[in-house]
Amino acid sequence: MSDSKYITLISYDGFEFVVLREAALISETIRAMLRGPFREAQTGRCEFGEIRGPVLEKVVEYFHYHHANRDRTDVPDMDIPVDICLELLMAADFLGLDSKPQMRDIS
């Protein structure tokens, strides 16, 4: 599973973002995507059919911001431009970023 340190996230309009694998794993969806026998896990590339480039860019920024500050408390909020906040909300919901990362019971 941890073949390479980085994965690629691709928006539907063709933008590709290379992300630290560890940083991206706070998303439950991405986590599920990368385990198991599916194509994404093998290639290390995740295509999102409903997320636009700029939005995905913000998401990736968030991943890294979170990862960099993961050991600190009282971290100030990231800057989010108003005009993409609605789409960002939906993307966050899609990616399972609206709650704290939980480990699911895998038997």
Partner: protein, 836 residues
């Protein structure tokens, strides 16, 4: 017109609405599920599937999706899985109706069973993997499910597995329904394999663990309640029941075929085995329950039978010091019974039996053989012939008996102490039980107080002269241990006083050891108990000083009379010393005139001189001479016998005789006699006023044994009668110059029956007084008490000295009532009041 600061409206990519609709999404998902089940998922894109379920959930048709998934899975089971399972079962079990018992060999059964289980395991694992992936796929759906509290996809699908596969009813060859479901088959096979494992066959334990693991993850209902795991509700009870049956049978077999030692070892092995099994084959969850089953069937059920076995049961284990067996037994019993009652009672009864056996052996042992002579001490009456080994006289035999009894008891104690340490882990409960039994049988034996005192006497006299301090220490320890067990301490005190008196007066033991022993007794039993003994020690020291002072005094008087006799004196304070030493014992014929015996004039002068010296520094004291316990050294001159030219009789002989005081008095009489005159017994008695029994003994020792025959007796019989005549034996010859004529009362011997009764009677008298004193003391303090309270108080106070009988206490209360120390309380006759 879009301002840069307003949220941009969501623009979805151009998708056909229908294409994004429920059915299309579902089709995608369905084909994906098929692929997953067929292990073909690598060409799928997770994002697609996830998005499909996402879309369905967004249009609020999540529940439909859920149901569709369920339907799909159910159908999948029926179409693809069940036939396989059916065949699996059929191929591997000859006939489903005979699940419990088969005629095939255990090897075949094992192979078949393992094949079946492997098949089931594979199905389960595949299902598990697939369901995990599918649940991932439907993650978005589940997240919304969680809010509405529906069972998760995963739980539901697991439930489907349970319902459609495990609970699938099996059909027999002819298609009719059997009462078994696959779950039953699986469990039966598992149990069968476990039993084979117990019998020693090698089975695949990992396989078993996987199957039980599977059961642990399945629940009775989809709510997955913690205590409703299939493992707990179905498997575990059956497992415990089957184990129960198995071990019950095994225990019976053990009882029939082997002995207690093997049973113990076998049980221990099984306990370890089952504990291990809970790690390797079944769940750790069951550890305590299976241990309980084992304890019930293997340990407890037939324990009494095993322990009662001849040759290997508890009795044999104790007798033969089988420490390993006893250790295992102790551990097993401690598991099931914190108070270890069975073990305790068994040990106690064994101790009692062995203790009473000691007494029995004693009665049966013949102590008269010469090889037992080592215990006899000095040879006393009945000694004949100078050089051959002497047979023991009856009194010496009794002493030997006493010593043997004590030795045996000490050996028994050492044995049980070793068992306690090595097997029973110094367990307090067992220790107190054993101590109690020891106390019981020791006190049941009526002569224990006397025997213990004799043992100490013997050890101190013979054993410790010249031994090192450590050896002495060992003996002292043993002595104290025994004294601790005795409950009739006042009786022991009486005997000890008597024996100690004799030892001190005849200097038979080392003083510092005596003192050490008394010091320990004081620590153990209290001041009051040892006061007399300490008084005796003090008297001895004082007497030594007195003697030296007196010698100086005489020298200073300038009385340089060569013929004066040297005096070594012991002054004994009356109360400290035993009464018979003091010569105040009651003689058979009530003669109490011991201190009136007539001393020769030279001796009388000596006595008066000393008395004057003694009273110089003290006033108001009376000294009474006790001739029965003293001794004297006499120089004797035997002139040569005329007419004999050669041999010892032709020479003058001078000897120094050491005799008792009575002996001295008698012999001095013959000084004034002509050589051919004789004195009759009665004449001697008149002249000396020595009491008859003492005189008889004295004369016997001086005239009967050839070694000490300084007096010739007429007639020359072995016993002395009042009609005998005695004269100076001019023919007396001895190889030694210094001759010690044995003193009769220097050895402490076991009392004859009469003497013992006498001692006990005196003891009882003293006890009556002690009880009186205790009652008065208690009543004075408490003023009013009921009868029961008073009795309890009295017993409590006197417990350090002896155990008073209730009837004795009652009698003393009556006595005190008549003497008007107490009165009955009006209205309540069972209560008393103290009368000042």
């Amino acid at each position: 017109m879009a301002s840069r600061n307003r949220p941009r409206p969501i623009r979805r990519p151009l998708i056909n609405k229908e294409a994004g609709g429920f059915d299309q999404c579902w089709a995608t998902l369905q084909s994906a599920m098929t692929d997953i089940h067929n292990k073909n998922a690598s060409k799928l894109s997770f994002e697609n599937l996830y998005r499909a379920s996402y879309k369905i959930t967004l249009v609020k048709r999540g529940e439909d999706l859920f149901n569709k998934v369920k339907e799909f899975e159910t159908e999948w089971f029926h179409k693809h899985i069940i036939p396989g399972v059916d065949e699996l079962v059929r191929n591997n079990l000859p006939s489903i109706a005979l699940i419990q018992m088969t005629t095939s060999s255990s090897h075949e059964r094992r192979e078949a069973g393992e094949r079946l289980l492997r098949g089931i395991r594979k199905i389960w694992e595949d299902h598990n993997t697939s369901m995990n992936l599918i649940a991932d796929m439907l993650m978005y759906l589940e997240r919304s499910c969680a809010e509405t509290k529906q069972a998760s996809v995963y739980a539901t699908t697991i439930g489907l597995f349970r319902d459609h596969i495990l609970k699938y009813g099996l059909k027999d060859v002819d298609g009719s329904d059997q009462p078994f479901i696959i779950l039953d088959v699986v469990i039966a096979v598992v149990l069968d394999l476990i039993n084979m494992d117990r019998d020693g066959d090698i089975v695949d334990r990992n396989l078993l663990r996987d199957i039980t693991g599977m059961l642990e993850q399945l629940y009775e209902t989809d709510e997955e309640k913690e205590n409703e795991k299939l493992y707990t509700t179905i498997f575990e009870p059956r497992f415990l029941a089957a184990s129960d049956v198995f071990y019950k049978a095994e225990c019976e077999k053990l009882l029939r075929e082997s002995d207690a030692g093997s049973w113990l070892r076998h049980t221990r092995r099984r306990l370890l085995e089952e504990e291990e099994r809970c790690v390797t084959s079944v769940s750790n969850f069951t550890k305590d329950s299976i241990a309980a089953v084992l304890e019930k069937e293997l340990v407890l059920a037939k324990m009494d039978d095993f322990l009662a076995m001849e040759g290997s049961g508890l009795k044999a284990m104790v007798d033969n010091d089988r420490e390993e067996d006893l250790g295992i037994l102790y551990q097993l019993i401690s598991r099931i019974d914190k108070s270890k009652n069975t073990l305790k009672t068994n040990l106690q009864s064994r101790v009692m039996e062995l203790g009473l056996e000691i007494e029995q052996t004693l009665k049966n042992t013949d102590f008269s053989a010469p090889t037992a002579a080592g215990a006899a001490g000095e040879a006393e009456e009945g000694a004949e012939g100078a050089d051959k080994p002497k047979a023991l006289g009856p009194a010496a035999q009794q002493t030997a008996a006493a010593i043997k009894w004590v030795d045996d008891v000490l050996k028994l104690k050492a044995k049980f102490d070793s068992l306690l340490e090595n097997c029973f882990n110094n367990d307090l409960i067992i220790q107190s039980a054993i101590t109690k039994s020891f106390s019981d049988f020791i006190n049941m034996f009526e002569r224990s107080a006397e025997f213990v005192s004799l043992f100490i006497d013997d050890s101190l006299k013979r054993g410790l002269k010249g031994k090192s301090d450590e050896d002495a220490e060992v003996v002292l320890q043993k002595a104290i241990v025994l004294v601790r067990y005795l409950s009739d301490r006042d009786l022991f005190e009486r005997y000890y006083q008597k024996h100690l008196g004799r030892r001190l007066l005849h200097s038979k033991s080392e003083i510092h050891i005596e003192k050490e022993l008394v010091r320990r007794m004081r620590a153990e039993l209290g001041n009051h108990f040892t006061a007399k003994f300490e008084g005796m020690f003090k008297d001895m020291e004082l007497s030594k000083d007195l003697s030296t002072n007196y010698k100086d005094h005489i020298r200073n008087l300038g009385d340089d009379d060569r013929k004066s006799t040297e005096l070594a004196i012991h002054v004994l304070t009356t109360n400290f010393w035993p009464t018979d030493v003091m010569g105040r014992g009651v003689l058979q014929d009530g003669d109490t005139s011991r201190s009136d015996c007539i001393f020769p004039p030279s001796i009388k002068r000596l006595q008066e001189s000393f008395y004057k010296f003694y009273c110089q520094d003290r006033s108001g004291r009376i000294l009474t001479w006790v001739p029965s316990t003293g001794s004297a050294d006499i120089k004797c001159f035997f002139p040569k016998v005329p007419g004999k030219e050669s041999g010892p009789l032709s020479k003058d002989r001078r000897y120094e005789l050491n005799v008792s005081t009575y002996g001295m008095i008698v012999l001095m009489l013959f000084n004034d006699l002509a050589s051919d005159e004789s004195l009759s017994f009665e004449e001697i008695q008149l002249k000396t006023n020595i009491p008859v029994p003492d005189l008889t003994k004295t004369l016997t020792s001086l005239s009967v044994p050839p070694k000490f025959r300084v007096l010739a007796k007429e007639p020359l019989t072995k016993s002395v009668k009042p009609t005998d005549k005695f004269s100076f034996n001019a023919q007396f010859v001895s190889k030694q110059i210094k001759i010690r004529v044995p003193v009769i009362s220097s050895t402490s011997k076991v009392e004859g029956n009469e003497e013992r009764k006498e001692t006990e009677r005196k003891n009882d008298q003293t006890r009556a007084h002690v009880v009186d004193a205790a009652i008065v003391r208690i009543m004075k303090q408490r003023k009013e008490l009921t009868h029961t309270q008073l009795t309890t108080e009295v017993i409590g106070q006197l417990s350090g000295r002896f155990k008073p009988e209730i009837s004795l206490i009652k009698k003393r209360i009556e006595d005190l009532l008549t003497r008007e120390y107490l009165e009955r309380m009006e209205g309540d006759t069972a209560a008393y009041r103290y009368l000042a």
